[in-house]
């Protein structure tokens, strides 16, 4: 199964990709996590690659000596990976149109394979603040990526200032988007910190609890 995470710039695809890979790994599956982010210069899978490798995840990213190069380099082994049927392959794309375009170039490898493409959205990100904007983004990214999306993911959050209301507002909007696009909602995403405090029954969609990996060094203050 190939799981592809796409969506607008900064919608939380990388965090979700890492957590999805860890979740599948915990279910004792063979998991590869593919870093196809050619957009973001910081906060990428390659920055936590060593930790993930220790967890037994096959991290597919650019060569170590090229990790900090400011060029849109794709990792090797993609052909081999996308043709292995037993494996779960989680693909993290870069944001917006240019990020989505990368997977379009790999379409021949995806044809005939089991693919689940998720559109991840945080309604608190610029240019994703209305149902209309989100629907337009879905249409545009679907055409750029040449993917047929299977599901939406509600990742409404304001970082450390997230609350139940923030997440619930995301659910209401994503639910509207779901009606318009006829795409089901796969998950509502909660950070570990928030999940500890909230009752999941308050939410309409299945909750996926994630640990945040893209942190800054001073966040251990609390």
């Amino acid at each position: 199964m190939i799981h592809i995470l796409t969506g607008p710039f900064g919608s939380g695809k990388t965090e979700l990709a890492i957590n999805l890979a860890l979740h599948l790994k915990n279910a004792e599956e063979d998991v590869s996590l593919v870093d196809l982010d050619v957009i973001t210069p910081y906060f990428r899978i390659r920055d936590v690659a060593d930790f993930l490798s220790e967890k037994g995840i096959d991290v597919v990213t650019v060569k170590r000596e090229l990790r900090h190069v400011d060029l849109p380099i794709l990792p090797q082994r993609l052909v081999e990976l996308f043709t292995q049927r037993e494996r779960h392959v989680v693909v993290d794309l870069g944001g917006d149109d240019d990020g989505a375009r990368v997977i379009s170039s790999l379409k021949p490898l995806l044809d005939g394979r089991q693919v689940r493409a998720y559109f991840v959205v945080n309604v608190f990100r610029p240019f994703n603040e209305t149902v209309e904007e989100i629907c337009q983004n879905i249409g545009r990214l679907s055409s750029r990526s040449r993917l047929r999306f299977n599901a939406l993911v509600n990742n409404a959050n304001l970082g450390d200032q997230s609350t139940e209301e923030i997440v619930a507002l995301g659910e209401r909007m994503v639910s509207e988007v779901s009606k318009v696009t006829e795409l089901p909602v796969q998950w509502t995403v909660l950070s570990e910190e928030l999940a500890e405090r909230l009752n999941f029954s308050a939410f309409k969609y299945p909750v996926f609890v994630i640990k945040r990996f893209m942190r800054v060094s001073w966040e251990d203050r609390r």
């Binding site: 900064g10 210069p41 400011d70 800054v216």
Partner: protein
């Protein structure tokens, strides 16, 4: 349904803050780690009847900013370290011509091509004159995304107040990290300062205005320079900005700006758990540097410890402020390495 707060990258927040401050003109050339500013402007400015122009180089950029600023409109550009070096000639001309405008330098590792990781090694260039001549930039250094919004707006106001270019000096981390922000309302353009007494607005039925940075008569040029210096003296008096964290009763003072200022707060909390009373002095205006308050704080501590993501640049201003009252120590990381709270704690404790 528009939300009150947004999750924004520093670069996006700076761009939106500029638009809300009344900036409708942006010229720029992409460079990591600030390209999101240009990207955001290219999308947003057409929506508000503004002009976004991607130039052929930073040299072209700065001269377009020079021309646009001559009209008295709010104008900005953004770049990162090597790009700002390329702009220095134009920055000096703009300061000489006394034009308000805003520059953003999202600093990366240097010198030379360096790398794309966050750094603070452009402090000298920002505060001591990167270009030629006796001029100063009004330099502001944010340490959170919310503060980046506020300082971007302030930068436009200060640029107008002093008819002088202002600079947001942010390290790559501030540009790239994402935090919740509350944005100010859109500024009504009719409330912006009136520059009709000097701006180039069309000389129909009036004497032409002239915007220049030269005077071939040395006495005349000296008079121009005196005028600049009077402004700078006033800015030193009125524009020193800083933040303090737990400085009451601190036995040791930690000094850092931008991202490091923020890391130092974690350091102070960690040291407090071990019973060591320290406080943070975080300069917000790097020029004018907040010497006055630093001098007062230095009186009450055993020593001052400065941390930077450079080989030690701001520490020279810290020493000027402290004036030898107590020792000034330094710890730095270079090349785009962000120090952790733990390593700073260890470096500090070695000094005890």
């Amino acid at each position: 349904m528009k939300t009150e707060k947004l999750m924004m990258k520093g670069n996006e927040a700076i761009a939106e803050a500029a638009i809300r401050a009344g900036c409708r003109l942006y010229f720029g050339y992409p460079i990591t780690p600030q390209s999101e500013i240009a990207e955001y402007m290219s999308r947003r400015l057409p929506e508000v009847d503004g002009t976004f122009l991607q130039t052929e180089s930073e040299v072209a950029t700065v001269n377009m900013v020079y021309g646009a600023a001559s009209t008295g409109k709010r104008v900005m550009t953004s770049t990162s370290s090597p790009g700002f070096s390329l702009m220095q000639e134009g920055v000096s001309y703009i300061a000489g011509a006394e034009l308000p405008c805003v520059f953003v330098n999202v600093v990366r590792g240097g010198p030379g091509l360096g790398d794309i990781q966050p750094a603070q090694s452009d402090y000298f260039q920002a505060t001591k004159g990167g270009g030629h001549g006796d001029y100063k930039l009004l330099v502001l250094a944010p340490s959170t995304i919310q503060e980046a919004v506020e300082l971007t707006q302030l930068a436009f106001d200060l640029a107008d107040k002093y008819r002088n270019p202002a600079l947001i000096l942010a390290d790559g981390m501030i540009g790239q990290m994402m935090e919740p922000v509350e944005l100010p309302p859109m500024r009504d353009l009719s409330t912006l300062p009136d520059h009709s007494d000097w701006a180039l607005t069309g000389a129909n039925e009036r004497e032409p205005h002239k915007v220049t940075s030269f005077n071939i008569d040395p006495y005349g040029l000296e008079e121009m320079n005196k005028r600049y210096q009077e402004k700078y003296t006033r800015a030193v008096r009125e524009e020193q900005r800083w933040e303090e964290y737990k400085t009451d009763n601190a036995e040791y003072l930690l000094v850092g700006y931008g991202t490091v200022g923020r890391i130092l707060k974690s350091v102070v909390d960690k040291l407090a758990e071990e019973g060591i009373a320290t406080g943070v002095f975080r300069p917000i205006s790097l020029w004018p540097f907040p010497y006055t308050r630093l001098r007062e704080l230095a009186e009450a501590v055993k020593f001052v410890f400065t941390v930077e993501m450079s080989s030690g640049q701001m520490v020279e201003d810290v020493r000027l402020g402290v004036e030898g009252r107590v020792p000034v120590h330094f710890y730095g990381r270079m090349g785009g390495v962000v120090p952790t709270p733990d390593e700073i704690c260890s470096a500090f404790k070695k000094l005890l």
